[in-house]
Each structure stands twice: as structure tokens, then as C-alpha cells.
């Protein structure tokens, strides 16, 4: 069965600290993986997708097929990064992980 696991419900860091939001998936085919972000009082929006291999707002994510992981990383967290982050795998539908709330303290 297709599944996305985000083991941390809440991740709290201080401004300037490195951040890694973990995501593991189970899928036997060729996955399309995404990170979506929901800032306070805003709509859910795409942060990045694995095939574009780009950095958005300083975030990167590398697909590791051996470990079936797609962790989201940022070397220096900013207060404006505080939000809910969802990892998702796309097959014939988009399956979301349970989300990780990132809190960045000043």
C-alpha cells in the first residue's frame, strides 16, 4: 500500500539553526514526490517537487530511493518558515503524510 510517514508532529528550532523535516514513503512504482506548505491563515501551496531539483526559499529535498526518503532541509531556519509542512506522494492520487509543524523561535 502507498503510504507517507512524517515521524515528527512538531519540530521546534531557533532562528539560524539547521532544519530537517523527515519523510519516508512506501510505493513500489516510480514516485512523484512533493512538499507542500501551509503558512498560518494561508492556503496550502506547493513548496517543491523532486523532479525539479530546485531550491525554494532555501529549502531542498533529495529523493533517496534506497532509503525511500524525501527529507526536507534548510541550513539556516528563519522565523517566517514557521508553518505546517506536508510531504506527499503522487500516483493516481496525491497521498499526504500527517504533516510536521515547524516552529522557528527568534
Amino acid at each position: 500500500a502507498q503510504r507517507v510517514t512524517q515521524p515528527e508532529k512538531l519540530l521546534s528550532v531557533f532562528k539560524g539553526a539547521p532544519v530537517e523535516l523527515k519523510c519516508n514513503y512506501s510505493y513500489s512504482g516510480s514516485p512523484e514526490l512533493f512538499w507542500y506548505v501551509q503558512y498560518s491563515r494561508q492556503r496550502l501551496q506547493l513548496l517543491l517537487r523532486h523532479i525539479s531539483r530546485e531550491s525554494i526559499k532555501g529549502f531542498t529535498a533529495d529523493l533517496n530511493k534506497g532509503e525511500t526518503s524525501f527529507h526536507l532541509k534548510k541550513p539556516f531556519a528563519q522565523e517566517e518558515d514557521s508553518a505546517m509542512y506536508y510531504c506527499a506522494i503522487a500516483t493516481d492520487k496525491l497521498i499526504f503524510g500527517t504533516g510536521t509543524r515547524l516552529q522557528v523561535f527568534p
Binding site: 496550502l44 517537487r49 503522487a90 496525491l94 499526504f96 504533516g99
Partner: protein, 113 residues
């Protein structure tokens, strides 16, 4: 210009009532979706339509009936509302199916009294 718009934003109603949520997208996308976000913020697909045709029905109770009059609109009608239907419902759209980036609406917060 709002890309994906849902109405209403808030819906408060009593158990047993019937209600509808409307969604419109002006992005020219061919696929639209309804998601349910529960109190623990878990997001789950409910329905997916491609060019007005239902392609995903994720074991949703048949009290929920989506309708797509054209590819820019996907409405959700809910009959005989139950307490467990309280949630935030998100509409989304994409071009080329679920493997493409999706654009989401602001959500409709449904509260059942």
C-alpha cells in the same frame, strides 16, 4: 485573481441538514479534487474529476455527492450531515492529473452542531 476559490469559507449547521460547497478554478486545469482535513490536520483525498468525469472516489460515504458541471467547477453536496463530517474541506486543481502540482483553495470549515 484567485486561482481556486471555494464558497462558503465557513459553514455552521445542524446534524441532519444538507449543505453544498462550491469550487471554481480559473487556471484552465483539467483535473479537480476534494480533500478533507480532520482535526489532527490530516489531509485525505475524497474525489478527483478529470474533464468532468469522476476518476477517484476514495470510499467516501454516498451522502457525499460531487458534481462537475464543467471542468472549471467542482461542487460538493453533503446529505444528512453527521458530527463526524466536521472538518475543513479543500478543493484543488491541476493540469494533467495527480502527478502534477496542485493548486488549493482556502478551504471551507464545516462545523456540525
Amino acid at each position: 485573481d484567485t486561482a481556486v476559490s471555494q464558497t462558503p469559507k465557513y459553514l455552521v449547521t445542524q446534524m441532519g441538514n444538507d449543505k453544498s460547497i462550491k469550487c471554481e478554478q480559473n487556471l484552465g486545469h483539467d483535473t479537480m479534487y476534494w480533500y478533507k482535513q480532520d482535526s489532527k490536520k490530516f489531509l485525505k483525498i475524497m474525489f478527483s474529476y478529470n474533464n468532468k468525469e469522476l476518476i477517484i472516489n476514495e470510499t467516501v460515504p454516498n451522502r457525499f455527492s460531487p458534481k462537475s458541471p464543467d471542468k472549471a467547477h467542482l461542487n460538493l453536496h453533503i446529505n444528512s450531515l453527521e458530527l463526524g463530517d466536521s472538518a475543513v474541506y479543500f478543493c484543488a486543481s491541476s493540469q494533467g492529473g495527480a502527478r502534477q502540482p496542485q493548486h488549493f483553495g482556502d478551504g471551507t470549515r464545516l462545523s456540525i452542531l
